[in-house]
Symmetry: C2
Subunit: 346 residues, 2 copies
């Protein structure tokens, strides 16, 4: 029995099921694909495939549908990522063109991904664990409070308003802040966020006693900012695509939406995918169905890849029903990732 043909059968089943959303039978298979054998032969192959757990039938005397394991094999060995058409490439460029802000880039990207794949899209904000401090600005506001602004070299800005009423005299506030700003910048600028946080404690200890109160205040807030910047963020779009994408998923649609709203869950998911992304398959990593341990996310597949250039800043991807069109989805994710990386590099 030819092993190759069995794989071809599996591929055909996946393709047909993805496009029709209906269990596919042996007869339909030989009609739609050039397999060169009769339905009976296919039936034998299908029986083996079912034994091995790659396909299953919803009920006796129905066609077969792929299992998670079947999709996995398909993705790993059978799928060739479809290249984007020139029209699609142009669409990506025009959609992403003209974004100025980092927020704007992320926002456009997630929308683009959603509309390209007609699924739910996820974009993680550029991770700052590798980012460093570009500048810290400190300025008095209205005499009683001060504004602290942290800018990272990835373009992200974090700010805090701090109350300095009790910490320092109003008259000397401006002077103290200016001095402190210079010293803070000297201490943390250029450093990685984590290192910068550590450097803060030294800074306070070396501050003259007159300014120690306000220095402590500032250091606390800045530490806060640094920690907040290290925290990951995600944005999503295209949730409405999920309801259209099929009734089978809509059974658990509620829990899927719940999971998507719980950004913490999403972040963990994305990070897990980052860890298992070993660079094969062009940097794309795919989670299929029950491979997502999170409850409510079985029944969905997630396709992500890193973006942001050789030093991967963060991840983006899409989430949809397990019976998604993997080749097309993977192509879209990869293409968008590349364009976004190019934009961020400039």
């Amino acid at each position: 029995m030819s092993d190759d043909r069995r794989l071809a059968v599996l591929r055909a089943i996946v393709e047909d099921y993805v496009s029709s959303h209906e269990p596919v039978g042996s007869k339909a298979l030989v009609e739609r694909h050039q397999l060169g054998v009769s339905p009976a032969t296919i039936r034998n192959d299908m029986a083996v495939l079912e034994d091995e757990g790659y396909i299953t039938q919803p009920h006796t005397s129905a066609g077969r549908i792929p299992t998670d394991k079947g999709y996995r094999l398909f993705v790993d060995r059978l799928a060739n990522v479809k290249p984007m058409t020139p029209a699609e490439k142009r669409a990506i460029e025009t959609f992403l063109h003209g974004a100025d802000d980092l927020d704007d880039v992320v926002d456009r990207t997630v929308r683009l991904l959603a509309s390209l794949t007609r699924q739910a899209a996820v974009v993680q904000y550029p991770s700052l664990s590798r980012a460093s401090v570009r500048h810290v600005e400190l300025v008095g506001v209205g005499g009683r409070s001060a504004l602290l602004v942290l800018i990272t070299d990835s373009g992200r800005v974090e700010q805090r308003v701090l109350d300095v009423r009790s910490a320092v005299d109003v008259e000397t506030l401006g002077v103290s802040l200016a001095a402190l700003r210079t010293r803070v910048n000297a201490s943390v600028a250029g450093k990685r966020l984590r290192e910068a946080r550590d450097a803060l404690t030294d800074l306070v200890q070396q501050t003259p006693p007159a300014d120690i109160a306000i220095a402590a205040e500032v250091a606390a807030s800045l530490g806060d900012c640094l920690t907040a910047s290290l925290e990951e963020r995600v944005v999503i779009a295209g949730t409405s695509n999920l309801v259209k994408s099929g009734a089978d998923l809509s059974l658990s649609l509620g829990s899927v939406l719940e999971a998507l709203e719980e950004h913490v869950v999403l972040l963990r998911l994305v990070q897990e995918l980052a860890e298992e992304d070993l660079g094969e398959r062009g940097g794309l990593s795919v989670r299929i169905g029950a491979e997502n341990l999170h409850l409510g996310l079985d029944g969905t597949s997630v396709v992500t890849t890193g973006y942001g250039g050789e030093a991967v800043l963060a991840r983006l991807g899409v989430l949809g029903p397990t019976r998604m069109d993997y080749p097309t989805t993977m192509a879209a994710v990869r293409a968008v990732s590349r364009y976004v990386s190019r934009i961020l590099a400039s």
Copy 2:
């Protein structure tokens, strides 16, 4: 024929239908409510109510369900907003307690509203059309670019990175920026955002020729920030509640989710509600079913109110199926609005 009783019947129908999600008949009505008359009498009243368009029957020989018009009458004349229980009040306080950032407050608020009402929640960011400029910060970064930060008195911060390579010499950059910062602040600080934007043109014209290039650059970016700050933003949560809330809505669930993702649509909706909010009904305004002109949002009702103190800063509210529990929903919206206003005032 007693007019009062007909209204009582309508109220009973709305209440029963909201709690059971099933058409309600005359017999069930007299059993569950003390109306003091026989089912036959109720039937007469129901016939009249149907003639007048307040209720309808899905098909002959089924019970009645309220129409949009019926809900409208209910909300306007029959609903008494239920007070929150002490437990709920406590829940609100603990949930909102400890929020520092403005973002954090908004985020917590929208989640709170969603979980309290078990519907989709919408919170508009504090509108800045009434806000004024607190401070503008301008600082060179890395010699070739500068950071512009705008802080408003409502606590919102907007920033831009601008390229100043061509505009000024590297040596004089710091000096130019410092001077410019002082002049910009003198010109716009304390002004309303709109006025500040107008003041910018004068500023550039009065700039010494040596710095005019960079001044123009800064003015452009600042104008940008001011415009962006005037732009409204909304956040949503609890979309997963919509799918649970009933199959009748789930027919159009896709278009509802679409509308919710399109923040522009949401903003227009919220602003319309703001305009028709004349302060009666305790500041609550309600849009029922087809009163929402936007396609895909018929079948849903929106309950909003202003928040932020006597000078209303923005709106918040919830969106759900027309057959929502209006008294409870309205109470929750009002209660949350009050707590948030109190927090923002501090």
